[in-house]
Amino acid sequence: MERAEEETPRIGVFVCHCGINIGGVVNVPKVVEYAKTLPNVVYAEDNLYTCSSEGLSKIKEGIGKYNLNRVVVASCTPRTHEPLFRATCEETGVNKYLFEMANIREHCSWAHMHEPEKATEKAKDIIRIAVAKARLIQPQKEPEIDVTPSALVIGGGVAGMTAALSLAEQGFRVHIIEKEPELGGTLRHLHKLYPTMQDASDALNQIIKAVESNKNIEVSTSTTIKEVKGFIGNFEATVQKVNGEAANLRVGTIIVATGADIFEPIGMYGYKEYGNVITQLQLEQLLKDGQLKKWERVIMIQCVGSREEKGRTYCSRICCMTALKNAVLIKELLPDTDVYILFRDLQTYGGRYEDYHRMAQDRGIKFIKYLQEKPPTVVSAENGKLTVNVYHALLGEQVTISGDLVVLSTPLTQHENAKELSQFLKVPLGSDGFFFEAHVKLRPIDFATDGIFVCGTAHSPKDTAESVSQALGVASRAAIPMAVKRLRTEAITAMVNENLCSGCGTCVKLCPYGAIEKDAKGVARVTEVMCKGCGVCGASCPEKAISMRHFTDEQVTAQALAALGRLTA
């Protein structure tokens, strides 16, 4: 029923009084009369409130009566009201992109309420600009794509498995691929989990059992990604087993849950030089194996390889709590052992971790704050002991501790092969090496590329509870396109005129969404479903080969000239 684009524009202009918000300043009847004089305007009227149900039916009436194929409403800001008027147009069979709005309230009557005459003139101009555009706009279609209702989860740690379980419970097929021979990720190496002190392997076994028994989940271990093609709803991933066996997976969404590595502090504080300098990870293993010795003193050093001035500048979030937990565990088993924690700032945040800190204080664990510029030193002493010298910042004194064991708290770091994965998926890594989300605040687990998501420590260091929360979050984000099955995507997208394109690749580089690539012919091709319509490519195309739907150069130029009074029939 939509009106064809070849028709001569027949524009109707509806000018709103907005009570007296507009009408009290702008001479609305005069403006209506003016609107009638503009080219292609076949009808104009004023309404008390165009957005009221009465006003909306007047639009519908006008469309029918005057056979309008373009509608201009001169009222308030399109940012709030455009959808309403567009919907009204669509109800009458006018494509919603054939609607244009003139903002004569926020930008005119309210801003110039003490200059009614000038405001009236400005309102005329604003309507002229809108009409200039309305003459040139075309109906647009929002492309639709089908979504394959299955997800690929890359990484079989607690985050990946949690996301997979939730998606499976929501009824979607999930493929987990894990590069190691078994599921579990980092948790496999841990003893107990703070703050509940639950046994890590017990918890892990439960989750693995749930994953393995879920008929919607398919697990491939010792498997890595080789290639990823396609876009949201229609990804095609090539995966390969260690034995070389390859397979193709067609999925609608992809979840990156690849976890993190733990930094090995070679060359720091005597690590690998003295046998009794170990990392928290090694301590976890000793605790797990029940290999504690009757140490007189254990000294833990925080921020080893994190919060550095250059390099790993970030705080690894979990090390303070890990140290507290392991210190408490040592104290439980060896009450006479003195445990020192040499820290910079204690990251005992949130609702529970302060209490945990207090528990450690209760047990007599000793805390010494050191300064980044005066880090502790560890030297070997006689009889196998270690001497730790540290400047106690809060006393302003040098303190010497003789200990049997020094435990270094080292940060989580990104895997070495993450770069490769980021290139396969065309998703970015941040300067800290972790995967970089679409928006730090409001799209924390999405990538800018639709259909790909991130959770767990692949995103940034976090503990189990936080990884689980994020994994569940991702299970929702990824489920949305799969639940709706068909996606409508942005209609305001870029179009490439292949004849003009020289294949210079400027647009490919500029597109923040990876929506443009060079095709076999060497010319730019827009994947419409990935395009968000910002228009940066068009404005920069050296050959002016790219145009933006609904915001063409012609339309914008016409508006600009109309603003200067130049609008000719």
């Binding site: 800001t77 399109p78 940012r79 903002n103 309230r105 926020e106 930008h107 005119c108 009557s109 309210w110 801003a111 110039h112 309420m113 003490h114 200059e115 000038k118 405001a119 003139e121 400005k122 101009d125 604003i126 600009i129 800018a448 305001i492 020289s502 210079c504 400027t506 647009c507 580089k509 500029l510 923040p512 968000k532 319509g533 910002c534 228009g535 940066v536 068009g538 404005a539 920069s540 195309c541 050296p542 050959e543 002016k544 933006m548 915001f551 150069d553 914008v556 130029t557 508006q559 600009a560 000239l561 603003a563 200067l564 009074g565 130049r566």
Partner: protein
């Protein structure tokens, strides 16, 4: 009657347009001289459109986008910034005051700032006076300059330089080298100069065939330099010899497909 400047504002949908809305909502008054055109992103704005607007007689053009870091489309606003920087250099060569073009960042909560900017720009333009291209009596020389600038902005060379500027500075060129910003600036400057003059020559020779000497006089440029451009333009198929008078060749613009 005092002179009332006509300002065309190109505002991004997400921040600046909303900021202008907020100015209205908050009833902050500002001079009614601005006409706002909404774009999805300030990065959408093609330099050609701006030059067209100026050629059309606008006394001022103001482009507003999200603050750096706020861009709804990651960094379209920074692309706009690069374009405006180039444009100002280009405009400076036409005889039109580059101050007639402004780029500002306005967030959705900065209604006051929006109004302040309009006020400021309006008074700045009042001081500057009416655009020499305003309808009644456009200054033909400047108009010719602006049209040449427009053509320049539409040309491949500058567009590719601006479009790739970020990549060249931040990533690397095809040889894996990062281009220092100053070096790129210099290249840009030279390119603007050259392309602008070539377009001037092209437009002049479109009207009538001209000799190097005449061109040099009209452009106030060393004949040697003019000739160098002519050589390049001949190679690109932009001009050809129309006739030779004595020993003096006259050049004429060719139609470009």
């Amino acid at each position: 009657m005092t002179f009332e400047p006509r300002i065309v504002g190109f505002l991004c949908n997400w921040c600046s347009y909303a900021g202008a809305d907020l100015a209205g909502v908050s009833r902050i008054s500002y001079p009614p001289n601005i006409r706002i055109i909404r774009l999805m992103c300030s990065g959408r704005l093609d330099p050609v459109i701006i030059l067209e607007t100026l050629a059309g007689g606008a006394d001022g053009v103001i482009v507003m986008g999200c603050h750096p870091g706020d861009c709804h489309y990651v960094e379209g606003n920074l692309q706009a910034e690069r374009k405006i920087r180039m444009l100002k250099k280009l405009i400076a060569r036409t005889g039109l005051e580059p101050e007639r073009l402004r780029l500002e960042w306005v967030s959705a909560s900065e209604g006051g700032r929006f109004a302040e900017l309009v006020k400021d720009f309006t008074s700045q333009l009042k001081k500057l006076g009416q655009s020499p291209l305003a309808e009644e009596k456009p200054d033909t020389k400047i108009l010719a300059g602006v049209l040449a600038a427009k053509a320049t902005a539409a040309d491949f060379r500058l567009r590719v330089l601006v479009g790739k500027e970020k990549g060249l500075i931040e990533d690397a060129n095809v040889y894996g080298e990062k281009v220092p910003e100053e070096e790129l600036d210099k290249t840009m400057e030279e390119a603007i100069d050259a392309e602008y003059l070539r377009n001037r020559i092209y437009l002049m020779t479109k009207d009538e065939p001209l000799s190097v000497k005449e061109l040099s006089k009209r452009l106030d440029l060393d004949p040697k330099a003019v000739l160098r451009h002519i050589v390049v333009m001949r190679r690109r198929g932009l001009v050809a010899i129309d006739r030779v008078e004595g020993t003096t060749p006259f050049y004429t613009a060719l139609k470009v497909e």
